[in-house]
Symmetry: C2
Subunit: 246 residues, 2 copies
DNA sequence: CAGTGGTCTAGACCACACC
DNA sequence: GTGTGGTCTAGACCACTGA
């Protein structure tokens, strides 16, 4: 390396990533722990920051999993999480794998208030739900429901926590189904979502926004946050293939 | 702020991001150019690397747009790109906004070969398509089609480039529709996709994998790459709401 | 406790866009 | 050219995990 002669348009971290990626394919198996960052950097003759740039990308692609105080391991293939608009049902009906853990009355983010067509400072029912797969928290969701749209029902007035969440969802389910639409985009985990998903704040997440309608007008909005490193969101048309591409 | 007394478990870049985010909301408008990184870092009293960590996250969230040699600007809201399994049609039929630019015969990635049920070293028709919105390249796709599944058709034998792509898609469209399924995940742009999307290699992208079936077996696989910074993928159930949450 | 990944610094040079 | 963001270095210290 005493020859910094010809310029390479290829950044070091990019080359590193390629080399590491091949090594992961051939010399490591799922769950195995890599050498620590200082040793890897030394082995490749780069600064730790440069090595970390390569690891960052591999983590983004779901090939690695890093945990502070523990180490870097080879990640298993991503979970497929079904988010298809398949069954036309309200959240919380039988078979819904999400677990509602809490419900409060709070002012939603402005974008949600706009989508619901309510004033920006209007408190709404806010149900928090979490999705577990293989024992791991995979996604967390806030469901926002203006009290005004809910038909009468029992158990909401004094209930707290999971009980209130169940009661609110039960009342929501009394409404006639009016369709929903969804959007997926990239985001970064807020402090609360990061804690629930066992990630650091700022970790990349997939944000799925769902709008529910009834009688032609919006009645609920869900904002779900999935770990982008471990999740693949699937939405089948019917069920033609079992696609397991990476 | 002259009181740096109590320790904050909150990283500097996280706090910076919050401050910048608020500033973007209140003091800047879409398209406006921010001060350069060195000046921002000096203004906030942090190293440039730290400032960049905050900017990285804001860019990930689609709030900023950075271009080497130019500067950092406030990003417009993300485009909504429809990827719903709505119309049951083959790629390339009338009304399909994708532009097919090239077609070669090449060995696909192993995951694609597996999904198609062909040998890992088997060359397949590989159509490259690009999606433009507002004059900007938003996504790029590789469609993989084993020649064996295609019914007879004209114009494929000697055609090259866009002509061959058109001919291959025309033959594909002769097959009876058998459904499709899709998956979305996070990835990083390869060198080729990065060039087409006017991004740097390694930029975060949303990867949409589509499997097409006919007669109960897989006949084509599409791997589409969308700019994660500027795109929001939408898949409506019907068309109930116009959701514009961020 | 020792070992890990996460944060931060203060520089340097490079690749690129624009004039 | 000048000015921008992108890459890279060689350190330092912090926060966390687990023995």
């Amino acid at each position: 390396m005493s020859r910094p002669d010809q310029q390479q348009p290829e950044p070091k971290y990019w080359h590193l990533k390629t080399v590491l990626s091949q090594a992961l394919d051939t010399e490591f198996s799922v769950g195995q722990t890599l050498p620590n960052e200082r040793e890897l950097a030394a082995r490749f003759g780069v600064a730790r920051a440069t090595l970390r740039q390569a690891l960052d990308q591999l983590e983004l692609e779901g090939r690695l999993q890093r945990r502070r105080g523990v180490g870097t391991t080879v990640a298993p293939p991503r979970f497929g999480v079904d988010v298809s608009p398949g069954q036309h049902t309200w959240p919380g009906t039988a078979g819904d794998p999400w677990v509602a853990t809490d419900c409060t009355v709070a002012v939603p983010p402005r974008a949600v208030a706009d989508a619901l067509g309510v004033a920006a400072d209007r408190p709404v029912e806010t149900v928090r739900r979490t999705l577990f797969t293989h024992g791991q928290p995979i996604g967390t969701e806030h469901l926002f429901i203006p009290p005004g749209v809910l038909p009468a029902g029992e158990g909401t007035d004094n209930a707290r926590g999971a009980d209130r969440a169940g009661a609110v969802l039960a009342r929501l389910q009394l409404l006639p189904w009016g369709g929903r639409d969804r959007a997926v985009e990239l985001g970064s985990a807020g402090a609360d979502a990061a804690r629930l998903l066992d990630r650091l704040p700022g970790s990349p997440v997939l944000i799925v926004t769902t709008g529910y309608a009834s009688g032609g007008s919006p009645v609920a909005v869900g904002v779900a946050t999935y770990r982008a490193d471990t999740c693949r969101l699937t939405f089948g048309d019917q069920e033609p293939l079992s696609l397991t591409a990476s």
